[in-house]
């Protein structure tokens, strides 16, 4: 093998790569927050919404879970673009990942809701709480604990899936890496460094999640 490794160009661009890593983390986190809110609404709609809402939610979940994420991003990019609605690369990735997260999380939430006994609802209602109060104060906090680990997994997925952003022109970590690699032809070195950065980001996500769990769930 006569390949000579040249790491210097990679180290020179390290600050840019780290900055792109922050962008990756940002878009993943935002897509999780949006995904959690919509996922909750989808799960509740599927369980107890009127029929049109139920069909809408089921369709969303089916599409999000059973088609490639890449196609979902393409849809919000080129698909909507064909109808004259042009989103920025950032928005394509954010909307696409939120769509995907919401679909997966909705299924997790549904399982979580089913795991909280009906009797909890009865007990809360018997105290005079409204249905909304019961959901917000009693049911959802218990569901969040049940789905906490699946939710952390989804966050890790969101970080990794955001790398598809480079295929819709988004300069997140992978996009940025691709850009520099094509300028210098140090393709292996750049992507090795980027893989390491992804690894570190995921480890940080898992570590923060673990610490937060210790504070949040003391029971």
């Amino acid at each position: 093998m006569d390949y000579n490794f040249h790491w210097r160009p990679v180290f020179k661009k390290l600050p840019d790569l780290l900055e792109a890593g922050l962008l990756t983390l940002e878009v993943a986190m935002l897509s999780m927050i949006i995904g959690i809110v919509i996922g909750l609404l989808l799960a509740i709609s599927r369980m107890s919404g009127p029929k049109p809402l139920r069909i809408f939610a089921t369709t969303w979940v089916e599409l999000a879970r059973n088609t490639p994420v890449l196609f979902q991003l393409f849809f919000f990019g080129f698909g909507l673009g064909a109808f004259g609605l042009h989103l920025s690369p950032y928005l394509i990735v954010l909307v696409g990942l939120s769509f995907n997260n919401a679909g997966y999380l909705a299924e997790n939430f549904r399982g979580g809701f089913q795991a909280v006994p009906d009797t909890q609802l009865r007990a809360a209602r018997s105290l005079g709480m409204t249905a909304t109060q019961t959901y917000i104060r009693i049911i959802i906090p218990q569901v969040l604990r049940i789905v906490y680990h699946p939710m952390t997994n989804q966050m890790v997925w969101a970080v990794l899936m955001s790398s598809l952003g480079m295929l819709v022109g988004f300069r997140e970590l992978s996009g940025e890496t691709q850009f520099f690699a094509s300028q210098t032809y140090r393709i292996f070195e750049y992507f090795a460094m980027t893989a390491l950065i992804y690894y570190v980001i995921v480890k940080i996500v898992l570590g923060v999640s673990k610490l937060a769990a210790r504070r949040l769930f003391r029971y």
Binding site: A123, L127, R145, Y219
Partner: protein
């Protein structure tokens, strides 16, 4: 006063309550006995509107429970309920379990609600478990927590749905003791129970339910000593 008039309840095809007429006066302790499936628990759920009814009427202090215009959440504040499965909220400490409803339903301030909660927890003998989560409490303690939680709303009526049936035998006593204390304080109580000793000693009246019909009602001496109905006598002979 709780007035039940010609109450019918169906679960689909199943006719669970077949025309119940019953009045419970302020200060009275009524025990409801009968075998499983006789409709006695369903009766409680119909009284606080956790179950719908198909015919008849339930009136609590002049308010018709199942009327559409009735503010059911307001009504329930006056009807404490304790369940067979004690249903403590697992994500809240004892204090938070009890303080939550006074705060968000009655709109008390946080400190007021906590003071009420502490008072009620001490009342049922859980003064040393204020900051524990339910997972650290025994079944009997969790059931007393549930009683304190209901009492914190300062209800005039308490409904007990087989409050001791799911407990280990050695924990039944502490819960019955708490219920006895409430009765002595003059609380109006309807207790669906399998504890014949409690029904006999504490109740003013005992009602026997059989296949959706209130077969017999009367003072405990009469029900346990000289029941009119063949069914009642048979049931009591079997449980003893």
């Amino acid at each position: 006063m709780i007035e039940i008039k010609g109450l019918h309840k169906y679960f689909g095809e199943l006719h669970v309550l077949k025309g119940i007429d019953l009045n419970v006066a302020k200060g009275e302790v009524l025990s409801v006995i009968g075998s499983s499936g006789s409709g006695k628990s369903t009766l409680l759920y119909c009284i606080n509107g956790l179950e719908s009814i198909q015919q008849g009427e339930v009136i609590v202090d002049g308010v018709s429970v199942h009327e559409k215009s009735t503010d059911i959440n307001k009504l329930r504040q006056n009807l404490g309920m304790v369940f067979q499965q004690w249903n403590s909220f697992p994500h809240l400490t004892s204090l938070e379990n009890v303080a939550l409803a006074p705060r968000i339903v009655k709109g008390k301030s946080k400190s007021e609600a906590l003071a009420i909660a502490e008072k009620q927890l001490r009342h049922v003998g859980l003064g040393d478990k204020l900051t524990n989560y339910p997972s650290a409490l025994s079944g009997g303690q969790q059931q007393r927590l549930a009683i304190a939680r209901a009492l914190a709303m300062e209800p005039e009526y308490m409904l007990f749905d087989e409050a001791t049936s799911a407990l280990d035998p050695e924990l039944v006593g502490e819960v019955l003791e708490t219920m006895r204390m409430l009765a002595e304080e003059g609380m109006t109580m309807i207790c669906v129970t399998h504890e014949m000793g409690f029904a006999r000693d504490v109740s003013d009246r005992v009602a026997y339910f059989h296949q959706g019909i209130m077969e017999e009602i009367g003072p405990p001496e009469q029900i346990f000593g000289d029941a009119h109905s063949e069914h009642t006598r048979k049931f009591l002979a079997n449980v003893r």
